[in-house]
């Protein structure tokens, strides 16, 4: 066979494509993008679009359900209205701040020592105890709110029953605890009581979650540090303040950030406890509830979107502040 003849046969053999050729084929090039596309498509439709559309809405006025062409561009009028004229928004913002502090601060003030106690006092049964504290966090907030509504019921609630029984304790015809505890049933739905009640429910729900966060951080603190401190003469409470607390700072930053974000968007608990109305004088109405009611009851999506963006800026500023106070400094 001549060289020419053999060369002619080569194309027939090379019809079977090499691995490199196959990898260069169109299908192979697009395959990776195809596999990751579900996330991007879902994110674009349910994440990015609503985000950008809410900016658009916040600059427009009108019923969005009637179609975009029925919306009127109003510039920053929605924001100006919220700042200047919307008294309910102002009160809801104050309520949100009040609830965020009243439920948020105790969460951490209780969770840190509680975690330290669980960390030092429990060895074998620790997980069971942590589990018990964590249950409220994984329980439906609707169920929790309904149970607490029942507990705080004016005429049949357990809370009133206990408090009035203590308040009505009589010694020689005198009620020594009457000045501190109520002697008659309290109407927890009244404006001065509704916020503490909501704050207590939120505190109760999230204290376990924060305890778990702090406990996990404590478990990463090297045992050597405590031993060195013991040899250095630090008593257990000094070890808590000089070793444990400073070592918890990164976790404090994380946990407080979560609390800020969560509490400023507080919705479910106040919504269910106040029956979706915000309560008497709207004392239990939060900014998130105001947003919801403005959008879905009043149909004013423009103002509601502006509320959401204002909330976003408040959360961003507070998180930045938190980062300044508790964040890592190099």
């Amino acid at each position: 066979m001549s060289a020419v003849e053999s060369a002619e046969k080569i194309p027939a053999v090379s019809k079977k494509r090499s691995l490199k050729q196959r990898l260069n084929a169109k299908g192979y090039k697009w395959a990776p993008y195809l596999f990751v596309s579900p996330f991007f498509v879902l994110f674009a439709v349910f994440g990015l679009f609503p985000l950008l559309f809410s900016i658009y809405l916040s600059l427009h006025y009108g019923d969005a359900t009637g179609g975009i062409d029925r919306m009127e561009f109003v510039g920053l009028a929605n924001y100006i209205y919220l700042f200047r004229d919307d008294a309910w928004f102002h009160s809801s913002l104050i309520n949100t701040g009040w609830l965020a502090l009243a439920s948020g601060i105790p969460q951490h003030v209780v969770a840190i020592p509680l975690a330290f106690f669980l960390h030092t006092a429990f060895k074998k049964s620790r997980n069971t105890v942590i589990g018990a504290y964590f249950v409220p966090f994984i329980t439906s907030s609707v169920a929790i709110s309904l149970v607490f509504t029942s507990l705080f019921s004016r005429d049949f609630g357990v809370v009133n029953m206990i408090l009035t029984q203590i308040g009505n304790v009589e010694i020689f015809g005198f009620q020594p605890l009457g000045w501190l505890f109520p002697t008659e049933n309290v109407d927890w739905a009244r404006p001065q009581y509704i916020k503490p009640m909501i704050a207590f429910v939120v505190f109760w729900r999230f204290v376990g979650w924060n305890t778990v966060l702090y406990l996990s951080a404590m478990q990463t603190i090297p045992k050597d540090l405590y031993e060195a401190a013991t040899v250095d003469g630090a008593k257990p409470w000094q070890q808590f303040f000089y070793i444990t607390l400073p070592q918890l700072k990164p976790m404090m930053f994380f946990a407080v950030t979560l609390t800020i974000i969560g509490n400023l968007q507080m919705f479910e608990e106040p919504f269910i406890i106040t029956g979706g109305t915000g309560g008497i004088e709207q004392a239990g109405k939060t900014a998130a509830m105001h947003l919801y009611l403005t959008a879905f009851t009043e149909g004013d999506f423009g103002t509601a979107s502006a509320v959401s963006w204002l909330l976003f800026f408040i959360i961003a500023i507070l998180t930045w502040l938190n980062n300044k106070i508790l964040g890592e400094k190099d």
């Binding site: 050597d224 401190a229 040899v231 250095d232 630090a234 070592q247």
Partner: protein, 363 residues
């Protein structure tokens, strides 16, 4: 400063006895090293002295005082940990001053002592740094400074150099040694590194499985090991041990016989021990009235720079010779068998049953 006495000290973790009857007296100002393999109970013993571990049985005295029930801070000890255990959120200065602050020492006095320690350990320029900005050696010095400022009666070191690289370990070893010479504080030092033990200690305590295998000066430990464990644990490469018989003060290894210069009782089952560094290719290199010779099958030769390691087999046992490259005989030419010479005064004999050293007859 104070003496330290351990009397019949024991430590049990559940069913497991980690320290089994530990008796030791450390003189005031002495530097004692606890040396042994992992799990021998050396760190546990140190931690019992520090008060970080409960004592299962026995007594510990610091000076005249029984400290069994005393809190660590009441024992007036200072400890340097393997991990350094520096407080990461405190500066070097705050780390050093922490113990003094906890014991409510006056501010001026704290300043004075921190300055003194920092000067001594060359830490003055680093006082405002945080531990994460320090090198391993600097961290180690901060840990030592923290221990020093409290002017304790006893210094405890728990493998303080094991996290450092070999070069730094050498220089830190010298610093610890000079610090001890300067302060003269009683020191108990735990390590598994025999070089640290040999270079630092006034006396070395070798532990094995919770028992003391031998106590002695580094020289005694090296030259007169009390048993096979100590003989092989100390020295690198480890001592060659070959099964032998003792008859009429002669060591019989297979076909080979060595006539010992001192008299021994007969022993049917014993082991001859020769350190690799005591072996020579050239008998003229040995200054002794009694030179022994063993013929060994060569398995391989390794060049280590200043020395060669001749790896061989003798009577079924591994046999290594550490030969200086300056030896006149060209070791790389050796194949098959090699004759190795040694001073018969420097050989060791061990009872194969108990593992204890066989001493020559006194008469």
């Amino acid at each position: 400063m104070a003496a330290v006495t351990f009397s019949n000290l024991k430590k049990r973790f559940g069913e497991t006895e980690v320290v089994k009857s530990f008796d030791l007296h450390i003189e005031d100002g002495e530097f004692v090293v606890l040396l042994g393999p992992s799990g021998c109970g050396k760190s546990t013993t140190l931690r019992m002295l520090a008060g970080l571990e409960e004592i299962s049985d026995g007594e510990i005295f610091i000076g005249e005082e029984l400290v069994n029930e005393l809190h660590p801070m009441e024992r007036n000890i200072a400890m340097v940990f393997q991990s350094y255990a520096l407080y990461p959120h405190m500066t070097v200065k705050e780390n050093i001053a922490f113990g003094l602050k906890m014991t409510k020492v006056e501010k001026d006095e704290i300043e004075r002592r921190v300055k003194l320690a920092a000067d001594m350990l060359e830490l003055t320029p680093l006082l405002d740094r945080f531990p994460k900005a320090l090198s391993g050696g600097q961290r180690q010095r901060v840990a030592m400074g923290r221990a020093m400022v409290r002017t304790p009666e006893v210094f405890l070191f728990d493998e303080p150099l094991s996290n450092l690289d070999a070069k730094l370990r050498g220089s830190m070893r010298a610093e610890i040694k000079s610090l001890h010479q300067e302060l003269g504080t009683t020191t108990l030092y735990v390590t598994h590194d025999q070089v640290e033990a040999m270079t630092l200690a006034d006396r070395v305590v070798i532990l094995k499985d919770g028992f003391i295998a031998q106590v002695g000066t580094p020289k005694e430990i090296f030259e007169q090991p009390a048993n096979k464990f100590v003989a092989t644990f100390i020295g690198a490469p480890e001592m060659n041990l070959v099964n032998a018989k003792l008859e009429n003060s002669q060591v019989i290894i297979g076909e080979q016989t060595l006539a010992l210069p001192t008299t021994y009782q007969d022993q049917a089952d014993c082991a001859l021990g020769v350190r690799p560094s005591d072996l020579y290719l050239n008998p003229r290199a040995i200054e002794s009235d009694a030179i022994g010779k063993l013929t060994v099958n060569i398995d391989g030769i390794e060049l280590l720079g200043a020395t060669y390691h001749i790896q061989g087999t003798l009577n079924g046992s591994r046999f290594v010779a550490d030969i200086a490259t300056s030896d006149e005989t060209d070791v790389t030419q050796e194949t098959g068998e090699v004759e190795l010479f040694f001073d018969l005064h420097r050989v060791h004999l061990f009872d194969n049953q108990e593992g204890n050293a066989i001493r020559p007859n006194l008469n």
